[in-house]
């Protein structure tokens, strides 16, 4: 059983897209879990911001952990932060997932009607993240 909490964080520390992937049945402590994941992801932003200047890589790997949770991050060229809070190691999958999501995000942000830093509300985006989540994270 593994859970992944994926969030895209905008420039003002505001989440613009949130998604959870889990192999566990959904109802179990979901709200609690999600809440904690949010806090962990938020706390990790400090480290993301520190790391992003230290490397030329967009993939920041696993940069933080709290108890059994790891935080992996990815930073886009426009400084949008992708963060995954997860409880088992899956570097390769996360890397691929980030790359695919980056692609999807870029495409979405090119929509003239999408304003940067605002929550993403798109069925297509949702669908894509679902597909990639299942493909790279839960497989």
């Amino acid at each position: 059983m593994s859970t992944y909490y994926f969030v895209i964080v905008g420039h003002n520390d505001n989440p613009i897209y949130e998604r959870e992937f889990s192999t566990a049945n959904k109802e179990q402590r979901k709200e609690d879990q999600r809440h904690l994941s949010q806090f962990i992801a938020h706390a990790a932003l400090d480290l993301v911001d520190e790391h992003k200047w230290k490397t030329a890589n967009m993939q920041l790997k696993s940069i933080d952990r709290f108890n059994q949770w790891f935080v992996s991050a990815f930073i886009t060229a426009s400084q949008i932060r992708f963060i995954i809070v997860h409880d088992n190691k899956n570097d390769e999958g996360i890397k691929n997932f980030f790359n695919e999501m980056y692609d999807t995000y870029i495409k979405h942000s090119m929509n003239a009607f999408y304003k940067i830093n605002t929550p993403i509300k798109s069925a297509m985006f949702e669908k894509k993240s679902d597909i990639f989540g299942r493909k790279y994270l839960l497989s």
Binding site: I40, A43, D46, E50
Partner: protein, 1325 residues
């Protein structure tokens, strides 16, 4: 592998030698400090003790010159608590050993002193194992006289010191040698008990304790020397003989082991070496310490003594840090203060600054250590560069300014600063981290060393902070969490708080907030015995910064940053904490804050849930917009629910139209002939207007209730009661009235807010205040977002104006007029009048204001009729009105409006009839009659018995025309007046409605001076019912040439019998809806008037020509008008409705006269003098002629006019009048005229006479009539020019005369008749 073994080994069941408490404050430099317990004893914790504590604390280092002449600086660490078991680790790390004890106490009497001594002694016993030396500081009661105290102070108390190095001091008797006033000395008054064997210092309470520092310093010196002796002892120990030093938990591990094995020997030596290194470090021998640590490290590593390897590594780090970062010593002393300051300021404000912001305070706190202070200054800015230089001696001079932002100069070691070189074996800054990491790994192999490990990690963290390596800080801190340490909950919380603090120091606000929140939650977690909500609340509030929240909702909304879900969670936790603390005001405030700031981030259900929660919270404590201050000084700014209810629109309303102030129009001063000036004097004003768009165009009046309309929407799904809504204003004093509304969900509601400006000037409307959900809010427009609302509205308030109420004497109307400006109508009056009737209306004005007089009143009337007509209809005595001013407060004024029902009594003439009657006077009548007869034939049946009426009319006419010209009237009689009248009457029959407004402009008091007034109006509705109507008219010659008869058909259009008075003494009664014909003798229009009219017309035409207007007035128009007015002036027909007192006057204004009529109306320019058979013919005289006999007819014409008459044609015709409308002109067989009957007279000069004679023979007897007339023929244009020029030649002086002559005579055909026709009765011979 080694770790597991060691762990197994150390797993001793019985002993639990783990350190009970973590020292979270420890840093690397404490390794070099001597530990002193500073403890307050006794019950009293007076302020004086606090001062003493600080004094003692200030002496935290001493300088000692050792035997070799080297100056060593020895540092001390004062602590308040020290668990005894920590001393057990003294072998492992010597700085953990408690070496000194200072107690501070206050006593009032001997008993208390004894108690203090007992305390001191018991502490000594407790730490007896490690204690080198102790001191007691006692504060006694004040001396009786302050004088003696002063002396005592001056003298000081010299203590017998020279404490022995062996640690056990005898009771030192304090001798006072210098001063004879020994009686005042405390130690003489009170004596310490005999078992008190420590050295004590006595002070009075108010004593300045000048010598306290020196005494403490002496005490510390003593401690050092003991330590130094121990170090020397240790250093002289022989390697073979050293015993094994043990960490507390290791005791069991070595039981039964062969201590003499090579390995264990080495272990012993290594450990002793490490111990010596510790001592050297404490004794200020840094170089020695470093090399010893290195050696020990090597030795111990070779035997795999991981724990001690770790210790030696840590020692290395500590020794290096002491050299590299001496300024770190200062951090701890000011730490306390810094944290205090942090809570005091707004959290968001100091986020950008990193961890060492308070150097200034550092300096103040440690004035004693100047050198230290300077070095700490120089290290202040470490946020820019993380590069560390070891030997930045260049910048190491003490003069470096505190703001130098280059790399950390802190690398400059304190001790080696002077020669600028560091010991060769010192760890480089980046190595320190590695060594710490290694040490931690080593420690981690031992379960019981968890405390040591944690402390090491914290020390490492602090070093990394100093080095500005946040990632390493994060790494060490993170590691702390994974150290398996059995901690109490309180300790756990403490750990989180420390982590928070450390994260904050490196600027990781979000991380800090995370742990702060964890700590807050731990404080109150479920199952906790004593949940500490105060702490929880404090921490929660502290973590606001990390979540990008501010306490001020405005700031939060402004930033619009952060993670809403987390912010909401935090705010909710805060509310819970505040509620549990019983701080209802805070709970309400935070709930309001939550609703206000996170409204957009909540779902509709959440919104309503929160709203309900707020309602519940505010039931305990009402929220109001004032800042709340916490105990620690934090100010919680007010939170206003600006969008609950949601304001959609705010409209400032003008006063009601009738109360609206206006400018009193002042006649503009003549600004000269220039209408245009390029200089715009008001351009400045215009620019000003552009600047404030929120400026309201209209005015409000002082003391007048004013209104602002607010459109509100309730975004909640339940009814929202908003009470006590008031306008918020600035500027002039404004008294606003509370308003209460209940808003239905989602329905926009308009709410009118009222208030009264009390002063004059500019009023600044900023918004409104509400009281909803139990919270008072000030909703200012500038804080409302997402709407196009201006930040405020500015309204000018002018001085108070009086108010009036208006009453009329007439009944009010049900309907209001639809004239323009109908909004200012305050009352109405209606009146029904017959045309021509007069009436009056009394208007009463009451000044309603209590203070202001009515000083200015202007009345004018506005109506839907023409100005001229209006003047006739309404009349106001302006002077009488003005005479009544001013009207005192509450006074009244009355005036009368005279109303006259002016109407057209004359039917407009059909245009056709005008033409026909133009060419021939009375002859037009038959023609006229024929038209009307045809009209009569087509009359609708609805008209009642026209036949009968006609007969009646005829009858009446017969009666009324007594001696009038019979035949001409007979001709008139033929005209069926009723039929004709009714057809033209029909539009006239409708009643006429006239709407008028009596507009009153009034003012008074200061406003009048300022030039303002108010306007209200009385609506007057007049209904004009037709009364008498003149349906047709004609002009007949009268018996005398100076008069003519105006014959009128007058209809009574009322439903009542009408009595008509048409001349002075002639009355006639007309039945309802009937008409009658009356002749009225009227004086002819004199020639002078005609001339005047002509002259005026000529002048007019000249002017028109000058102005190149093509259309010239014809003289006939002017003349016709003249005649019309002439008649209208002279003829007034008074009517009276019989049986009532309703009466009126019908005027003939507007009567239209045909050309023929005009000739009759004016005095003829020709004077006839006709003689028949040499007798002058008198009017109506009988002339008898005989058949067959010649009769002489002589016609004499005189031109009476002022102009010559041209182209006259005189015609003489005989005819027979059958008196039935038929006239026979074919009398060739009956009469013959000798000579021409048509004579042309080319010119008849002014006052000239011409005569024409002829003879007449009648062949048959009978009655003959003679028509004698003179006709001027209109000339063609061509002809006109010739005589015109001719006359111009003859009389060149008067061009005007010529013009007028031509225009009068030649453009118009005129007929002048001799009236009445001569009647000749021809008889047989």
């Amino acid at each position: 592998m080694r770790a597991t073994v060691a762990g197994a080994q150390s797993h001793a069941p019985s002993v639990e030698p783990v350190m009970s408490r973590l020292d979270y404050e420890q840093n690397a430099l404490h390794h070099s400090c001597l530990l002193v317990l500073l403890r307050g004893v006794g019950p009293s914790r007076a302020r004086i003790l606090q001062r003493a504590f600080e004094k003692v604390r200030r002496v935290n280092n001493i300088k000692v010159t050792d035997s070799s002449g080297v100056v060593r600086t020895i540092y001390f660490r004062f602590i308040h608590e020290h668990p005894v078991e920590h001393n057990d680790w003294g072998d492992f790390q010597t700085h953990r050993r408690l070496l000194g004890l200072i107690t501070i106490g206050k006593f009032e009497n001997q008993t208390e002193l004894n108690e203090l001594c007992r305390h001191h002694e018991s502490l000594k016993v407790r730490y007896g194992g490690t204690l080198y030396e102790s001191r007691a500081i006692f504060f006694g009661p004040d001396a009786a006289s302050s004088e003696s105290l002063a002396i005592q102070n001056k003298a000081g108390i010299t203590t017998v010191d020279n404490a022995q190095a062996d640690g056990n001091t005898d009771l030192v008797v304090l001798k006072e040698t210098q001063h004879p006033l020994a009686a005042t000395r405390l130690q003489d008054e009170f004596t310490t008990p005999s078992n008190f064997k420590s050295q004590a210092f006595f002070y009075r309470e108010q004593d300045n304790c000048i010598d306290l520092e020196t005494r403490v310093s002496d005490f510390l010196n003593a401690l050092f020397w003991v330590l130094e002796s121990r170090r020397l002892e240790r250093s002289r120990e022989r390697a073979e003989k050293v015993s094994l030093l043990l960490a507390p938990f290791e005791k069991r591990d070595f039981v039964g082991l062969d201590m003499e094995s090579r390995n264990n020997r080495k272990r012993c030596v290594g450990r002793v070496m490490k111990n010596l290194a510790d001592l050297s470090l404490q004794a200020g021998l840094l170089d020695d310490a470093l090399s010893l640590y290195h050696n020990a490290n090597e030795t111990l590593r070779s035997v795999g003594d991981s724990l001690w390897v770790g210790a030696s590594e840590e020692g290395l780090c500590a020794a290096s840090a002491v050299i590299l970062y001496p300024q770190m010593r200062e951090i701890e002393t000011l730490h306390r203060n810094a944290s205090l300051q942090e809570t005091g300021t707004s959290p968001l404000r100091n986020t950008p600054e990193k961890w060492r912001a308070s150097d200034a305070t550092k300096k103040i706190n440690t004035p004693a250590n100047c050198a230290d202070a300077i070095t700490s200054n120089s290290s202040s800015c470490s946020s820019v560069s993380s590069l560390l230089t070891n030997n930045s001696s260049a910048s190491g001079t003490p003069t470096t300014s505190s703001s130098s932002s280059t790399s950390t100069i802190s690398a400059t070691p304190f001790g080696h600063q002077r020669n600028g070189e560091l010991p060769g074996n010192i760890l480089k800054p980046e190595e320190i981290t590695n060594y710490y990491r290694k040490a931690i790994i080593n420690y981690s192999k031992y379960r019981h060393a968890a405390t040591i490990e944690t402390e090491a990690a914290l020390k490492a963290t602090r070093i990394c902070i100093e080095q500005n390596r946040p990632l390493d800080v994060a790494m060490f801190l993170q590691n702390i969490l994974y150290i398996n340490l059995s901690l109490s909950e309180a300790e756990r919380v403490k750990r989180f708080e420390i982590m928070t603090e450390l994260y904050q120091q490196i600027g990781y606000q979000r991380k800090a907030a995370f742990f702060q929140r964890l700590a807050a939650l731990k404080h109150v977690q479920q199952g906790s015995q004593a949940p500490d909500w105060t702490q929880s609340y404090r921490l929660m509030l502290g973590s606001f910064t990390g979540y990008l929240l501010s306490l001020d909702p405005l700031e939060v909304l402004e930033n619009a940053a952060g993670w809403p879900a987390l912010q909401i969670d935090l705010a909710q936790n805060l509310i819970t904490a505040a509620r549990r603390l019983g701080q209802s005001a805070l709970a309400t405030r935070h709930m309001t804050f939550l609703l206000q700031t996170q409204w957009d981030n909540m779902t509709a259900t959440e919104q309503s849930e929160m709203a309900v929660q707020l309602q519940n919270l505010s039931a305990q404590c009402e929220g109001s917009p004032v800042p709340l201050v916490l105990d620690n000084g934090t100010v919680i700014p007010p939170a206003n629910l600006t969008d609950l209810p949601y304001c959609m629109e705010m409209v400032v309303k003008d006063l009601p139209a009738h109360l609206r102030p206006q400018r009193i129009k002042i006649a503009k001063a003549d600004s000269g002939p220039f209408l245009f000036t390029p200089i715009h004097f008001n351009s400045v004003d215009r620019r000003d207007k552009k600047k404030d768009k929120n400026k309201i165009a209209f005015l409000w009046v002082q003391n007048d209730l004013s209104e602002v309309c607010v459109r509100l929407r309730n975004p909640l799904p339940f009814e929202l009661a908003v009470t006590d809504m008031r306008l918020l204003s600035n500027g002039v004093v404004f008294e606003s009235l509370p308003q209460t509304v209940i808003l239905q969900p989602h329905v926009p509601t308009n709410v009118a807010l009222h208030g009264t400006p009390i002063e004059t000037g500019q009023l600044d409307l900023q918004g409104y205040s509400t009281h909803t959900l139990g919270v008072k809010s000030n909703c200012r427009l500038k804080h409302m977002r997402g709407r196009h609302l201006p930040p405020n509205y500015l309204v000018d308030v002018i001085p108070a104006l009086p108010r009036i109420s208006v009453k009329t004497s007439l009944p009010q109307t049900a309907t209001f007029s639809n004239m323009n400006k109908s909004d200012i109508v305050v009352t109405s009056a209606s009146l029904t009048l017959y045309n021509g009737e007069s009436s009056s209306c009394t208007i009463t004005i009451q000044n309603e204001s209590n203070t202001l007089p009515l000083e200015h009143l202007e009345v004018n009337i506005n109506s839907n009729v023409e100005q001229e007509l209006q003047k006739k209809m309404f009349r106001i005595d302006e002077q009488a009105l003005q005479a009544q001013l001013p009207v005192a407060p509450q006074g009244t004024l009355e005036f009368v409006v005279d109303i006259y029902a002016e109407a057209d009594f004359v039917c407009p003439m059909p245009p056709g009839s005008l033409n026909t009657s133009a060419d021939y006077g009375p002859s037009s009548m038959p023609h006229y009659a024929s038209i009307s007869t045809s009209g009569h034939a087509s009359l609708p049946v609805g008209i009642s018995s026209p036949q009968h009426r006609r007969q009646d009319l005829q009858h009446v006419t017969a009666r009324s025309t007594i001696a009038a010209a019979q035949h001409s009237l007979a001709a008139l009689n033929l005209q069926p007046g009723g039929a004709d009248g009714s057809s033209s009457l029909r539009p006239q029959q409708l009643t006429q409605h006239i709407e008028a407004q009596l507009r009153l402009k009034y003012s008074g008091g200061e406003a009048l001076v300022a030039g303002y007034c108010r306007q209200c109006a009385v609506s007057l509705n007049l209904e004009l019912i037709p009364s008498a109507q003149i349906t047709s008219w004609d002009v007949l010659p009268a018996e005398i040439p100076s008069q003519f008869y105006l014959v009128l058909d007058i209809s009574n259009l009322t439903a009542q019998e009408m009595s008509l008075n048409y001349t002075e003494n002639k009355n006639i009664l007309i039945e309802a809806k009937e008409s009658c014909r009356v002749p009225i003798p009227v004086d002819r229009c004199s020639l002078e008037q005609v001339c005047a009219a002509r002259a005026a017309e000529v002048a007019e035409n000249l002017e028109r020509e000058l102005c190149f207007r093509t259309q010239l007035l014809s003289f006939s128009d002017a003349l016709s008008k003249l005649c019309s007015t002439h008649i209208a002036e002279r003829v007034k027909i008074n009517w009276l409705l019989t049986g009532t007192d309703i009466q009126g006057v019908a005027s003939l204004r507007g009567i239209v006269l045909s050309h023929g009529m005009v000739d009759l109306t004016t005095v003829s320019p020709l004077e006839w003098s006709i003689s028949f058979q040499d007798t002058l013919v008198q009017p109506h005289s009988e002339i008898v002629a005989t058949v067959g006999q010649r009769a002489q007819l002589s016609i004499n014409l005189t031109n009476q006019s002022l102009q010559p008459l041209k182209n006259l044609v005189l015609t003489v015709k005989f005819y027979q009048d059958y008196l039935n409308g038929m006239e026979n002109y074919n009398l060739e067989t009956r009469v013959a005229i000798s000579g021409p009957n048509r004579i042309t007279i080319p010119v008849l000069e002014k006052q000239a006479q011409t005569q024409h004679n002829c003879s007449v023979i009648f062949f048959t007897p009978g009655r003959f009539k003679t028509s004698i007339e003179c006709v001027t023929k209109p000339q063609t244009q061509q002809k006109n020019s010739i005589p015109g020029s001719g006359s111009g030649a003859t009389n060149p002086t008067s061009q005007l005369e010529t013009m007028s002559t031509s225009s009068f005579d030649e453009q118009q055909a005129h007929t002048w008749k001799f009236i009445p026709p001569i009647e000749v009765t021809v008889v047989e011979q």
